[in-house]
Amino acid sequence: MVDNLEQDQEIDLEEERVLDAIAAELPGISRDVHQLIPVLQKIQHIHGYLPLGSIGMVAAHFGIPGAKVFGVATFYNQFRFNPPGRHPIKVCLGTACHVKGGEIILENFTRRLGIEEGETTKDREYSLERVACVGCCALAPVVVVGEKIESYVTPSKVEGVITEIEIQNEIAEREKAKDEQQSDSE
């Protein structure tokens, strides 16, 4: 419970930092409404996502209603409203992957991680999104985890992918603890 609270506060603080950075950047940009999409793209390029708070700021900058900016941002798939996780998971739903049951794989991930498509887990470990074709249809259904392509994905492999990441995290943590112990004893 306490852990969760700390996590929430940390996330709030981080979002605040992002919003402050955007607020500092905005005044230097043209107020021409045609710059709306480039500005949204720039924010996403720098911070990895569009915090909902930034929509109102952008709207105020251009002097248009917030709903208009929100409408534009939600119309295009390229914009995301959640920060990317440390392990972004992209489930391919292109034609070949769709035929081979990509939807089932996506559902497996949503159930396993407890998040919907386009969302990020609370601990910022995973984010889930659907993509249309990653260009290796012969390996369908395909999932891209970080930079790594997982081929012929099955529900059991979904479990495997997550377990692998969890194990790696654990190893990293243990080594970190060991290092700290060593440096302490020295």
């Binding site: 109102g56 209603p65 917030g66 709903a67 409408g71 939600t74």
Partner: protein, 233 residues
């Protein structure tokens, strides 16, 4: 009035005179010729022409055209009841009601709903059998706005509320969000200070909604309570 300002045209054999520059749909409606429509509002410079219900045939022009975006011309001969027009209108209507939840009796707009009126006019049922019924994957009510409740499953996305809200000269405005089947009306920014009070007095979107998808929260609560009492009685 001189001939320069008025235009005379024939609609379904009836000769009518309207001011130059009038949209054909408005000309017909003003002269008692009913053409179903959802997205057109008087005063629109560029009607969205998206509901595809106000189609008419104009002699000398290819195919049926949306009358809301046609400007009247002298000597125009218009037919509003041809088979082709009706066929297209019925198809458009079918697509519109394919997401209908069919709970008319529980709806605030029952008996003065534009969709009911059009259904009667086209002799169409409000739940189509020809197309698959696909309810929208959205909550029944969205209470994001401080005083307006939105029911996406009733909404036909005509855009009347979006237009009328943009004409109000106020900081907050409704707009569409998302796209395709997930398109919805967004209330982004409605939690800002003062929006609730302004909207409660304005209620332009509530009054313009053809299907009762937008309602004031207080009025809807009272209606539902009333309904409950009636059902239990």
């Amino acid at each position: 009035m001189s001939k320069d300002v008025m235009v005379t045209l024939t609609v379904d054999g009836l000769e009518i005179s309207v001011p130059r520059g009038t949209k054909l749909l408005k000309a017909c409606l003003d002269n008692g010729i009913y053409i179903p429509s959802l997205c057109y509002l008087d005063g629109m410079d560029h009607p969205p022409a998206s509901c595809r219900l106000c189609l008419v045939e104009i002699e000398g022009r290819p195919g049926p055209l949306p009358s809301c975006s046609q400007t009247v011309e002298d000597g125009m001969v218009v037919h509003t009841e041809t088979d082709e027009v009706r066929l297209l209108q019925k198809t458009a209507f079918r697509l519109l009601v394919s997401t209908n939840d069919g709970k008319c009796r529980l709806c605030m707009a029952n008996k003065h709903c534009e969709m009911q009126k059009i259904a009667k006019f086209l002799h169409m049922p409000l739940r189509t059998k020809k197309l698959r019924h696909i309810p929208k994957d959205m909550p029944e009510v969205i209470e994001e706005h401080p005083c307006i409740v939105y029911e996406p499953n009733k909404c036909v996305l005509c855009g009347r509320c979006v237009y009328i809200c943009s004409q109000q000269n106020y900081d907050f405005a409704l707009d569409f969000a998302k796209r395709g089947f997930n398109t919805t009306i967004s209330f982004f920014g409605s939690r800002e200070e003062g929006v609730g009070d302004y909207c409660r007095n304005c209620r332009a979107c509530v009054d313009i909604c053809p299907v009762g998808a937008l309602n004031l929260k207080d009025e809807r609560d009272a209606f539902l309570q009333n309904l409950q009492a009636k059902i239990s009685a």
